[in-house]
Amino acid sequence: MSVEVTYRGALPELMGVSSERLEAGTVSEVMAHIRKTYPRAAYREAKRMLIVVNGESIQLRQGYKTALSEGDRLSFLPICGGG
């Protein structure tokens, strides 16, 4: 599946890219791509972030096992607070 991934927060600086198009069937595969392609710090940071598929958190789906479909949009977002 070809999916569009957007990196926010500290990731663009750590990776040198802010978005890319990838072939991936699950969120786990996207994580594996990040681990393989980018510095360790980027992978560590990505693991701490909120991962959103088509606007919905993967926490509401199957976590890293969430299946991806052609054209899906993934975002890595920082965890925030306040109120």
């Binding site: 926010r8 701490r48 606007g55 509401l60 920082p78 925030c80 607070g81 306040g82 109120g83």
Partner: protein, 631 residues
């Protein structure tokens, strides 16, 4: 131990007197909103209207204000809530509180009505009321410019003068937004309060206090939430997170997700507009956004303002949000209640029930309409009264998004049902913070306690409410309490098995949390990790203040405010939410996507030690040492 000194001011006669808080009251109620609730119960007669000449407004501080403790410039305003008729407390981060203390006063108790627009000056231990008709009509910015820069100021804008029920009061660029403090001050013809002095707050054990404060500041700076996330994104960072869990109010709470929300998100604000971050005096967190508006550097919007001038009116225009945020601040208008009333007006139009010229998705007329509302022009005067009164006139109670009359904050409770309980029971009406802010544990934080189960929510709500009440009464910002979620979870991330497991276990921890609230005398220790404010209070005042006593302080505050509401005629029936949230499913295919209030309320009353009608029992009040407060 130095006891707090207040000034009791009567604007009708122009007289004032010093008013020393008794040792008993200081020990039990400490300061801020807790002490203010007790004073309101003592000093006001039941049934008085919020804008009555004899109504009282208390502007006060807590023991930590101005001491250099982190995030300790927040001061409090308590008064009869203009929107709900119950209690109001409103917190503000401007310089006024710190300067009031420096002027030699821990608080002001203000009653009466001045014959003409006036200024209250608290300068070096003296109070003076002086006429200032020339200030009437000026916006909050221009009003403040008329006073020396070094003064602490608290002013109202035209909205307060014209009696918008949700008019705010402004100190610097910080706002006491909710519940209509601006309308109360306006009704008293008090355009501005200013304070200045050179007194340093007395500290019981200065050396130990300073040592502890340094440790606490280091802890705040190292914590991922207060050291990284809040400084970088402010509360604005919650937009995308709430959207990702369907908890972002969209189209007057019809939905919890807006496809274009990213355009008004904290990330977009940081990436495209942020000039720098800033903050209230003595705050190491510095969550304030500095952004360009009309070629000037001004304060940026909070999460609520982004949500309400964005997705909740189906709009996604960042520049509009920035401008509306600024205009509301200088006119003295609460952004939440105003923008929520706009969304309600838009839905009325959509359903053909009323036409204010407002439509979902259109932002071109907002500025114009804000002015008309501020000036109470024609039908726009109805918008100035908020959603509850609009619904009484035009219908639509089921989708008028308020509780007790105060508009809800920007968390869709059908995806955060504990937050729904909090909104319903919050003493000041539909407020997330006064409601215990369970959204942070359910839908927008790093932990994800099952957002749809009623299980455990009553207990966590009571616990969080007590903790937040105490932090506020001490004189600190509630954001400083966000370190209670251990930093390790932010390091692990929301998708780690450990974080997920904790989220799964939390709903089952209700009985444990309830037990904790019942054994507070045994919690005779303080920890940086839980509520460091208790230790700072202990060292600042010399009082026996451990985490258990600190939670008791919060519980006292919560019960006092409840007693005030009951005295003013609010009942368990008012612990409610509009039917859209309790009856209509947010996701028709998921029967859990509504707020099951009927299941949570009885448990909550029980945990609180209240009877079935939501009244604090004699036993509860005896335990809190304030049996006489219910008389």
């Amino acid at each position: 131990m130095k006891l707090p000194v207040y000034a009791k001011v009567d604007l009708t006669t122009g007289r004032w007197e010093r008013f020393e808080i008794s040792q008993e009251y200081f020990k039990k109620y400490i300061g801020g909103k807790c002490l203010a609730a007790r004073l309101l119960l003592d000093l006001t007669e039941p049934g008085l209207g919020p804008l009555d000449e004899r109504a009282v407004i208390i502007v006060n501080t807590g023991p930590l204000n101005g001491t250099g403790a982190p995030s300790s410039s927040r001061f409090n305003l308590s008064f009869k809530n203009v929107l709900t008729g119950g209690i109001a407390s409103s917190n503000c981060g401007g310089q006024f509180g710190v300067m009031l203390k420096r002027a030699g006063f821990d608080g002001l108790i203000i009653t009466g009505r001045a014959a003409e627009p006036s200024v209250l000056e608290a300068l070096d231990g003296e109070i003076r009321i002086r006429p200032a008709p020339e200030l009437w009509g000026l916006d909050a910015e221009k009003t403040q410019e008329r006073f020396p820069e070094w003064y602490g100021k608290l002013v109202i804008g035209p909205a307060g003068e014209n009696g918008l029920l949700y008019a705010s009061a402004i100190s610097g660029e910080r706002v006491a937004g909710r519940c209509g403090s601006g309308a109360v001050l306006g009704s008293k013809k008090l355009k501005a309060l200013v304070a200045y002095g050179s007194k340093r707050p007395e500290i019981y054990d200065r050396e130990a206090f300073d040592r502890f404060i340094l440790k606490w500041i280091r802890f705040i700076k190292r914590h991922p939430m207060t050291g990284q996330s809040l400084p970088r994104y402010g509360s604005a960072g919650l937009v995308n997170k709430a959207n990702a869990t369907n908890a972002l109010p969209t189209k007057n709470f019809q939905r919890g997700h807006f496809d274009e929300a990213d355009a008004v998100s904290g990330e977009t604000l940081t990436e495209t507009r942020l000039i720098r971050n800033s903050g209230c005096v003595s705050c190491p967190i510095r969550c304030e956004r500095r952004v360009p508006v009309d070629g000037r550097e001004l304060k940026g919007p909070e999460y609520e303002t982004l949500g309400f001038f964005g997705p909740n009116i189906e709009a996604a225009d960042m520049d509009t949000v920035l401008r509306m945020n600024w205009l509301c601040d200088i006119y003295g208008v609460d952004t939440i209640s105003f923008a929520s009333s706009l969304a309600f007006a838009m839905e009325l139009k959509e359903r053909g029930m009323a036409d204010f010229g407002l439509e979902f998705g259109r932002t071109d007329k907002l500025e114009d309409i804000l002015l008309k509302v501020v000036n109470r022009e024609g039908i726009y005067s109805d918008i100035a009264d908020g959603t509850k009164r609009m619904a009484a006139k035009y219908g639509g109670e089921d989708f008028a998004i308020n509780s007790k009359g105060l508009e809800l904050a920007s968390y869709e409770p059908r995806r955060s049902v504990g937050m729904g309980l909090g909104y319903a029971v919050a003493n000041r009406g539909g407020c997330h913070l006064n409601g215990g802010y369970l959204a942070l544990l359910e839908s927008v934080g790093v932990l994800s306690m099952d957002a749809l189960t009623p299980k455990g929510k009553a207990q966590f709500t009571a616990f969080m409410q007590d903790a937040l009440e105490a932090v506020s009464s001490a004189g600190c910002c509630l954001f400083s309490a966000q370190t209670f979620v251990p930093g390790v979870f932010f390091k692990l991330g929301p998708n780690s098995p450990v974080t997920k497991l904790v989220g799964k276990v939390m709903p089952h921890m209700g009985p444990m949390v309830a037990l904790l609230l019942n054994i507070t005398p045994a919690i005779a220790f303080n920890s940086l990790l839980l509520l460091p404010h208790a230790e700072a209070l202990r060292r600042a005042t010399g009082l026996r203040m451990f985490t258990g006593q600190f939670l008791d302080l919060g519980e006292r505050s919560y019960n006092l405010e409840r007693l005030y509401n009951l005295r003013e005629g609010l009942t368990a029936k008012d612990d409610s939410l509009p039917k859209r949230l309790t009856r209509d499913l947010q996701d028709p295919s998921d029967s859990r996507t509504r707020v099951p209030l009927e299941k949570m309320l009885p448990v909550y009353y029980n945990v609180r030690g209240w009877d079935a009608a939501g009244r604090p029992t004699r036993r509860k009040l005896r335990r809190l040492g304030m049996e006489e407060a219910s008389k």
